[in-house]
């Protein structure tokens, strides 16, 4: 469901709740109003009964006909009232009680009719009349009291329900907004994670089916972008590889032309000055030719070596052990250059499946570069960590040396590219890059002039390669 729809739904539920509560409150108020009207009527009825009984007392005291007719008038009034409020009373207390009341009034009227002026001192008559009157009054008062109690009960009930529904609405609002916020938050976090992964060059898609809402649309868009980026990157890698071949050929030509020229010049000069040369000079000439041939041989050997890496001898290895081994190899360089070493090795690393010799070559190369970039003094930082999201090991080699200028940074993995004044073949990083790529890993570099350079190598864990159990491949 779209977030938009969820919010509409939430609002609709809120409105419905408020309407229900309002209707309920209205109904209660109506009920209270009805009950209140009834108590007014009942109070009137009670007053009638009271007057009736007052007239009854007067009759007993004075025994005059006026008092007797007075009672009759009151009885008639009461009857009339009772008839008028019949529906109200029936609604409030039921037909049976109304009939009872009517019957009692009728009985009372009969008693009054059968009484006369003479009988006002008759104890039995008095007694009957008094009882009947009292019973009528009590009955009426009971009804009034009952209705008052009911009004109280309704008010209490309304109050409670309003209170509960108030909390229910608050709770619903809280839970629902929480749900939406968490829903959006989770999805957004997913998006953030994804973009972060993509920015590291890993064009992973969000695997689960994106939800059919706005976030889902964003995820779809990002997935499409990642796919497009991946495609573009492949094209760039391809064109870069072609460019590299061009750079390589030019570099090879230059590397070969120098010793070739030396041999050629030696030969030409030898022929030219032959007569003036002593036997020793001639031998020296030939030795220098041989040295240049040897130089060519080494260049060609190295090129072949780099171009066609020897068959890999892959085996399971422990990252931190590999790091420790190369430390022994570069320790001398560290001592000479007075460079401190800072190791931050994670101890929860899964094993890797590598050609240990090649990976050592890469790490030594990185460490050597770092040491050379720092000159005298500085700190070589080597860190290892596990990236559980990708099931990869990350090895970071950093220095606080002179850094690499941004215009060179794009070329440091090119063959024959070097910034080292004296001692660079320009092949180290190119070879390292090839080795790591062959291991299905990656090398990234970050550098700032004057601050330092950090190389980050990622390698898949042996589990990711499904190579944790067997030995050599």
């Amino acid at each position: 469901m779209k977030i938009e729809h969820k919010i509409y739904l939430s609002n609709a539920v809120h409105i419905l709740l408020i309407v229900l509560i309002g209707m309920f409150a209205l109904q209660n108020l109506n009920e209270i109003l009805t009950k209140f009207r009834f108590t007014v009527i009942a109070e009137g009825l009670n007053a009638n009964f009271l007057e009736m009984r007052l007239a009854e007392k007067n009759y007993f005291l004075y025994g005059d006909n006026e008092a007797l007719s007075n009672i009759k008038i009151r009885i008639d009034q009461t009857r009339e009232t009772l008839l008028q409020v019949r529906p109200d009373i029936i609604r409030a207390v039921g037909a049976q009680k109304y009939t009872t009341l009517q019957d009692q009034l009728y009985a009372y009227a009969q008693l009054v009719d059968s009484s006369s002026k003479a009988s006002h001192r008759d104890g039995a008559v008095q007694q009957k009349l008094r009882e009947a009157g009292q019973s009528l009054k009590t009955f009426s008062e009971n009804i009034t009291a009952l209705e008052s109690d009911r009004i109280g009960a309704i008010i209490v009930r309304s109050k409670n329900i309003l209170l509960y529904s108030f909390w229910a609405v608050v709770l619903f609002a809280f839970l629902f907004s929480n749900l939406i916020v968490r829903n959006i938050g989770q999805s957004l976090r997913k998006v953030v994670d994804l973009t972060r992964t993509i920015s590291t060059g890993n064009y992973r898609k969000i695997e689960e089916n994106p939800s059919n809402d706005e976030i889902g649309a964003v995820i779809n868009a990002i997935n499409a972008m990642a796919e497009e980026l991946h495609k573009r990157e492949k094209e760039i890698v391809q064109s870069k590889r072609l460019a590299s071949i061009g750079v390589l050929v030019a570099g090879v030509a230059h590397e070969l032309n120098n010793p070739l020229n030396n041999i050629s010049m030696l030969a030409q000069t030898y022929a030219e000055v032959y007569d003036r040369l002593s036997k020793e000079d001639r031998i020296t000439f030939m030795e220098r030719v041989d040295e240049e041939v040897e130089r060519l041989r080494v260049i060609i050997h190295n090129l072949l070596d780099y171009a066609k890496p020897k068959e890999q001898h892959l085996a399971k290895a422990t990252t931190n052990q590999v790091i420790q081994k190369i430390l022994a190899l570069v320790q001398n360089m560290l001592d000479v250059s007075n460079i401190r070493i800072k190791l931050i090795l994670a101890d929860d690393l899964p094993d890797i499946y590598i050609d240990e010799h090649q990976i050592q070559q890469v790490l030594v190369n990185m460490a050597t570069n770092a040491i050379q970039a720092m000159g005298k003094g500085g700190e070589l930082r080597i860190a290892s960590r596990y990236l559980p999201d990708h099931d990869e090991i990350e090895i970071e080699i950093g220095d606080n040396g002179k850094g690499i200028a941004p215009e060179f940074l794009d070329h440091i993995f090119d063959p024959f590219f070097t910034t080292k004044e004296e001692s660079g073949t320009g092949l180290g990083l190119w070879v390292s890059y090839g080795i790591i790529k062959n291991h299905q890993g990656n090398i990234r570099v970050a550098s700032q002039v004057g601050v330092g350079t950090t190389f980050i190598i990622t390698l898949p864990s042996c589990k990711k390669l499904k190579r944790c159990t067997d030995g050599e491949a």
């Binding site: 032309n257 070739l260 020229n261 030409q268 000069t269 000055v273 003036r276």
Partner: protein, 122 residues
Amino acid sequence: MAKHSIMVIDDEKIVGDMAKLSFEQDGYEVETFLNGESALERLKERRFDVVVTDLKMKGVDGLEVLRTVKKLYPGVKVIMITAFANLDVAIEALRDDVHDFFPKPVKIKELKASVKRALGEE
């Protein structure tokens, strides 16, 4: 007649050594340098009749040598040699008034002919 002087700059030692041997046999005075920096220092002290320099060197390269020579001694011809047979660089060098351009491996006879032309002997 005083000997013609030739300055040879190349970071490959053999180039200087062989040029020295060969040109001295023909009666030239030759000074060799293994980098641009020491050559520039020497140029401040004295003039050479012809300068033969490698193009690609660490630090001060052949183009910088060319510019310095043209600034200090506008009449002196510069001959450029390089292992990088890169035409773009050659065109740039020629625009900067290089006398001749030789890709390695260099034919010494051709180089000598070029030096002669530079000296106006032919």
